[in-house]
Subunit: 286 residues, 4 copies
């Protein structure tokens, strides 16, 4: 089957993937026009009130993804951390994602349990051979290896390794069968990303996550190998700000009236989730 | 055990309960100073991308509540719809809530599957005896009936019945053991709530949900039997607005840089969920 | 897509479906040569230690079925009780079964919450129009209505109604789109089943559950419309007897040695679940 | 709170713990008179049709345990493998067990993902300091560290290490706070267990699992430090044998009649799960 995430990566410039942490945020991203959704571990963990350190059980993640995939038409790329264990855990995870109709996963070259990239310097990396084994095992185990995209993420730069290590890892992952390479950076500027791009001759598309070098624009990557740009956590952070503001106002004013016209209406929720269909069906089937 | 929700209902004026739909929104409500949280069915359903018509399985609700109760210190009042079936389903539901450390549930006199109150006129009500049977069954089945609050909600006014029906139902529910009565109204003004209050002599505290008559203030109910006021869905609606704005901006500007300083920081998330504790513990136990 | 359950119902005599209550019992049934599995509500409820009265949440049932479908090659017919609510709950349930690769569901014309057929006399039935509405709603909502079998079960005879009522209901369900009719009986002899068969001219295949009239054989139904015969709970009951015996022996003899050669070996478990594959894969991918 | 598992370990001879893999098998063990239940990973994995290699997600295990704890009065000791990750995963796991009313966990000094002890020779062990860190972290994180038993299992002998290594590990774990030590052996005779017992002077009770040296009796350990003897998988294996026999018979004879009087009755299931209570409650509350 053709994979829609990979199709998105065939343009001249990068596609924007918006973060989601639950079916609602995924739906809002799709409704706003984003062509795909990034199901972020940091975001899902935060929504569940736990830390981004493999505290959220992987099949609770799966339950969230099940409802997310039920609701949105656009493809979903899942943040798979380091694969929830070894090659066997990872291939099971991928196969279950495939069953849900999810079209891709991102796996990173770090250890289980996961440590958020922004939390600690110099985190150890998975040995290259082990990471490649995971990629190959997943591809072999999927019902349709070609229909499900595996994005291999290297944390080499983030963990303080030199550019050569990042390139060597990316090349090995691409050879092992990765459909795209996520080159992660926590530099405040995009310099090292551009440097990586220049030395990347493999043809495999690149994915970036401009969380720290946030001023870059899609247009900056036209005609580079960067074919997807992930907005890693902005939906979550926007929802937090929205809720903090409303909580503070209501708590201060002792009324919900003060915020009534500043927030989404209940009827817009009814539209978004097509309550009208239920009414029509009740007439038809009851 | 003493019940903190009922303690809140012993003041001169109503306590404000803020809506939550996931552990994060509950945490934000608690951090903002709300003394308790309302786990709304409409909100949880919406967050999961399904309709408020018993589409969300009740033990998925339970999983959300488990993580919510793990994270917040304040008591949680759960929207229990019509009890997910008959007296037996409801008493099982209550017992499982109790096991999670949840301190109360609200049950309404409508049929299963649920129909959202704002969706349809003239919905049929549960027979009074059946509703009372549910309340008694739950109280008898709990490990500590006194430690878990049952709020009985009558939809009589909302369903177009006269005030007398609402009062008769409320009295029957209170006699059956309900700890509080939620008198629901979808009038644009609080008139019928005030009328109900005047005729309410039972001593059992009242709870209101000013979604349509949203201009009322806590102060309007000082010295009335109204002891809790539920902000039914404002956190959800605020989060939607927050996300819609950010999605639109990023999609239009092709960069996350535009929103960066308008939304919560990642480090504020790390603080809120105490990532520092993890670092300390790693030093201690690894 | 062609449906393997319906294919089984095209022979001259009935296919035997063996009950399963977890993935292991399903696997044992498949390994023994049964061409399909019956995922029984009574059995699954009992395995989970709860009563067959809609006490087991439907999406916990779904989780069991997910792992069952992952493990066995033969098709699974799911006991769907009365559909877990109204037409909307039932169509959601069916769609989720379809996503899991399940090929059929059985829905019965009783009320929610379910009461086990052997527990109570004269249970009320769903109105015919409502039952037909559920069948149509499910068919319309499935991705591939033709690929997923809906077996409509009438409890008319079991509830004390006359043969005509059973026939009228069966005909209505077949017309509404049911792929097969389960005609349930709790008579000690198969007389009423044979009587029903004689008057059944619709072409839609019949399914029976000889729990009380257990002496019938597959051969008794050659050239009748009965095309499937469900062994409703024998795996569960056999497992109980096996466990009771071993528990009693160990408890009495104070050693596990006494039972060692009377029970399945650990290595037969390793074979059944193909632990060898894991070893091969470890060599390949680690 | 006093811990019932530890109370059982204060007698002159070992208590027998019977394996369970679902609520039903736990209930049968309790009904047969066993004073406690061992929730085995191998057994639960097998019941779910997956391999004992951390393939079953830990919170699915938790769901099984929730219903098990709901149903049985006797205490449950949970097979916690190597703790599902590092100290943080393990302490979260323990805290959630405690919330369910579970009274103890067993953690072993092997790596994540788990490999079944009988599957591979010479498996690597967790470093002693790391294992001790897990024990301390869990004890510190529990609401009531004294009320929840941590049994530390050393696989030193099973992995081919000398007796001294086993003793050194056991001593370190006891000092770190383990309430009991499980000394595992896969010898065909109990010699190495007796040797360990003789050198064990710490006072901390010992637990054994006579799977391979199955001829030992409870009486053989009177006045030794062995205070619990785990029947690791006999319920599961007995259920498999029971089901295999019945499946073969029905498949061969084409009737369920042949097995009818050899297996547990449906009415014994109704008794075991107290369906009568439901009838009484229906009269009371409906």
């Amino acid at each position: 089957m053709s994979n829609r995430l990979m199709q998105l990566m065939r343009g001249t410039g990068p596609a924007l993937l918006m973060e989601a942490h639950d079916p609602l945020s995924a739906l809002l991203a799709a409704d706003a026009g984003f062509p795909a959704v990034w199901a972020s571990s940091l975001s899902m963990s935060t929504a569940w009130g736990v830390r981004d350190s493999s505290e959220l059980p992987w099949n609770l993640v799966m339950t969230v993804l099940e409802y997310m995939a039920d609701r949105v038409e656009v493809p979903i790329l899942v943040d798979g951390d380091s694969g929830h264990g070894n090659f066997n855990n990872f291939r099971i995870f991928c196969r279950k994602l495939e069953q849900l109709g999810i079209e891709g996963v991102c796996i990173e070259d770090k250890l289980f349990p996961k440590t958020n990239s922004f939390r600690k310097e110099g985190q150890p990396l998975t040995p290259i051979a082990e990471m490649c084994g995971k990629i190959r095992a997943a591809k072999d185990h999927l019902r349709d290896g070609a229909g499900f995209a595996i994005v291999a993420r290297t944390e080499a730069l983030v963990s303080g390794h030199p550019m050569d290590e990042a390139l060597a890892r990316a090349r090995a992952y691409a050879e092992a069968g990765a459909d795209a390479i996520l080159i992660h950076s926590k530099s405040r500027t995009p310099g090292e990303i551009f440097a990586f791009c220049e030395q990347w001759k493999q043809g495999t598309p690149l994915v970036i996550v401009p969380t720290t070098y946030h001023s870059v624009r899609v247009e900056d990557f036209i005609h580079t190998p960067v074919k997807a740009m992930i907005c890693a956590n902005q939906n979550l952070r926007a929802s937090i700000t929205g809720m903090r503001t409303v909580c503070a106002t209501i708590n201060r004013t002792h009324t919900v009236g003060e915020v009534e016209d500043k927030i989404a209406t209940v009827s817009s929720i009814f539209s978004m989730l097509d309550y009208a269909e239920l009414e029509k069906s009740e007439a038809l089937y009851l």
